[in-house]
């Protein structure tokens, strides 16, 4: 029995992986009580015949939850109120590095029973995103991956898995660039070139064996 390559990578616990702050614990926003107030008013309106909010429901673009609330706060109050008024439920949430991370961190490593996030193959800090606010513009997602060891033969496969995941999950306006982090791999340039060659990637995705392996890697996403 041979010992697997890279038998002892540092493994992060799932709880340590970077994630979007849980809203209820997001003290900086100080919206603990504020959001409760909104909830109370929304319940009251549900049970009220006299509040008029639901009659203007004809437009698909209005959302009942998102209609502006009656002005609740009196002026003297404002000193202690959160600065970021959070009453606007229609606020857009642009795609950011954390979201990219959340898409790719749960991908399984092809040879460990662990995810790329746990193995720190992908790290939040190594994801750069250029996301123009106007959706007709072209953006870019640049990911630097850290193979677990410098001669990891599976670096290309891991990179390919990440690319497939992102090509399936990101809008087409993003150009995806996947690079190995400098000095982390013996044949860094070769792998980089291969991972970013559109034609090769596309052909690889028509290779049934390869696709099966990638399917398996992606099966832990969701």
């Amino acid at each position: 029995m041979t010992e697997p390559l890279n038998a002892n990578p540092t493994v992060l616990d799932v709880s340590e992986l970077p994630r979007r702050d849980d809203i209820s614990r997001d003290f900086s926003k100080r919206n603990l009580e504020k959001s409760e107030e909104q909830l109370i008013y929304s319940k009251l309106r549900t049970l009220s015949l006299l509040s008029t909010d639901y009659e203007d429901d004809d437009e698909m673009t209005t959302d009942i939850e998102e209609l502006s609330l009656p002005e609740l706060s009196d002026a003297s109050d404002s000193g202690d109120r959160p600065i970021e008024a959070d009453s606007d439920g229609s606020r857009t949430e642009p795609i950011d590095a954390q979201e990219i991370y959340d898409l790719i961190a749960p991908i399984s490593d092809p040879e460990h029973p662990l995810t790329l996030g746990q193995l720190a193959v992908v790290n939040l800090g190594d994801i750069k995103i250029t996301n123009p606010t106007e959706k007709g513009q072209i953006g870019e997602v640049l990911i630097r991956i850290t193979p677990t060891i410098t001669h990891c033969s599976l670096a290309t496969l891991i990179g390919l898995g990440i690319r497939v995941r992102l090509e399936r999950c990101l809008p087409k306006r993003f150009r995806i660039v996947i690079l190995l982090r400098k000095g982390t791999h013996q044949s860094e340039n070769q792998v980089n070139k291969q991972l970013n060659d559109k034609e090769r990637v596309s052909a690889a995705c028509e290779n049934p064996q390869l696709l099966r392996v990638i399917s398996h890697m992606l099966s832990t996403c969701q």
Partner: protein, 360 residues
């Protein structure tokens, strides 16, 4: 001088990889991730045929029309490693014309009058480019297997004999293209070079590497020869991953050997011609450039990953950008650009082929 959109062919639902233009007839062929090749009439904008539903098991990557008027023929290369040859049987067409009523319905949808003439096998894996030589006698194909093959064909396009396998490249051969009048072939590769091969005048089956153009810092994606040039001069334009468009020039006459100024030529260059980098075109792109083409009246067009189309013209020996089109296919990438009758055709990842007019 802006580009204005004249027409959009909703050719495919998935990425359109290439568009090929018939040198004489008003036909284009488009290929795609949907594994088919579609033929459109450029005048009527009608879809004439959908070829190869089921013929290729993987993406169709490239197409090229054989330069002949009487019997339209197209070669389609696929990631499945094969090249299919399709011909339109004009005799059948004429017969059908007589039964006017039923003809209309079938001419727009059917491949009734296009038939599969041959399937060429030989490459180990993905075929990436095909091109017919100027007289239609030779067909060049290339593949990820690092080789480019030259096939000789007969008039019926049913027999293809491989007469040469070019193995000079170290990596995938991405693109092949013939000179418009000579038996001169340019090959582009992942190994970051473009090479030029010339038929041996003493041995028709032998092709000599006469130039190795290695200025690019990245994959060379495609190249095109100048259509009309001064006697004895040949120019070639290349585009590459490093976002540059380069123009090369073959000087008149054969290169003198043992000239001290010129670095020793690799042994694989059997014959020597002097090719120099004449110009790097003004920067238009900021991402890999996948395709270039040279027009009959001397203009160059380029397109690529950044979704931009660039058009260049030479004025007093200097190249100028005469037009650029941002996001020609929306947010999608452009895979191929071609000239047709002074207009530009572009094929994009959105599956569409667009026809652009250059307006003053």
């Amino acid at each position: 001088m802006p580009l204005t959109l004249e027409y959009t062919f909703e050719a495919h639902k998935t990425a359109c990889w290439a568009v090929a233009v018939h040198p004489q007839l008003q036909l284009i062929a488009t290929v795609s991730g949907d594994k088919t090749c579609k033929i459109f009439d450029l005048e009527s904008k009608q879809l004439l045929a959908t070829l190869g539903d089921g013929t290729h098991s993987k993406t169709t990557r490239c197409a090229s029309f054989k330069p002949s008027v009487d019997f339209p023929t197209v070669a389609v290369g696929s990631f499945d490693g094969t090249v299919s040859i399709w011909g339109r049987d004009l005799t059948v067409d004429e017969e059908e014309d007589e039964e006017a009523g039923s003809h209309d319905a079938s001419s727009t949808t059917g491949e009734s009058d296009w038939e599969l003439l041959a399937v060429i096998e030989g490459h180990e894996n993905e075929v990436k480019s095909v091109d017919w030589s100027h007289d239609g006698r030779y067909l060049a194909t290339c593949s990820r297997d690092k080789s480019a093959w030259i096939w000789e064909t007969d008039d019926t396009n049913e027999e293809f004999e491989c007469i040469n396998v070019i193995q000079e490249h170290d990596q995938d051969v991405k693109h092949v293209t013939w000179h418009p009048r000579e038996n001169l072939l340019a090959t582009c590769s992942y190994d970051e070079t473009c090479r030029v091969f010339r038929q041996d005048p003493y041995d028709e089956d032998d092709w000599m590497c006469v130039a190795k153009l290695d200025d690019a810092e990245g994959t060379v994606w495609s190249s095109a020869f100048e259509k009309f040039s001064e006697e004895g001069i040949v120019r070639l334009v290349t585009c590459s991953d490093d976002t540059k468009v380069r123009v090369y020039r073959k000087q008149k006459g054969a290169k003198k050997s043992n000239n001290g100024d010129i670095p020793p030529v690799p042994s694989s260059l059997k014959d020597e011609e002097e090719w120099v980098l004449e110009a790097v075109l003004p920067q238009v792109h900021d991402r890999p450039i996948y395709s270039v083409d040279w027009s009959d009246d001397g203009m160059i067009v380029s397109g690529g990953c950044d979704g931009r189309i660039g058009v260049y013209r030479e004025v007093d020996g200097k190249w100028q950008v005469v037009a650029t089109q941002e996001r020609a296919h929306g947010v999608y990438e452009i895979n191929c650009v071609k000239w047709w009758d002074g207009k530009v055709l572009s094929a994009g990842d959105d599956g569409k082929v667009k026809l652009w007019q250059l307006t003053e």
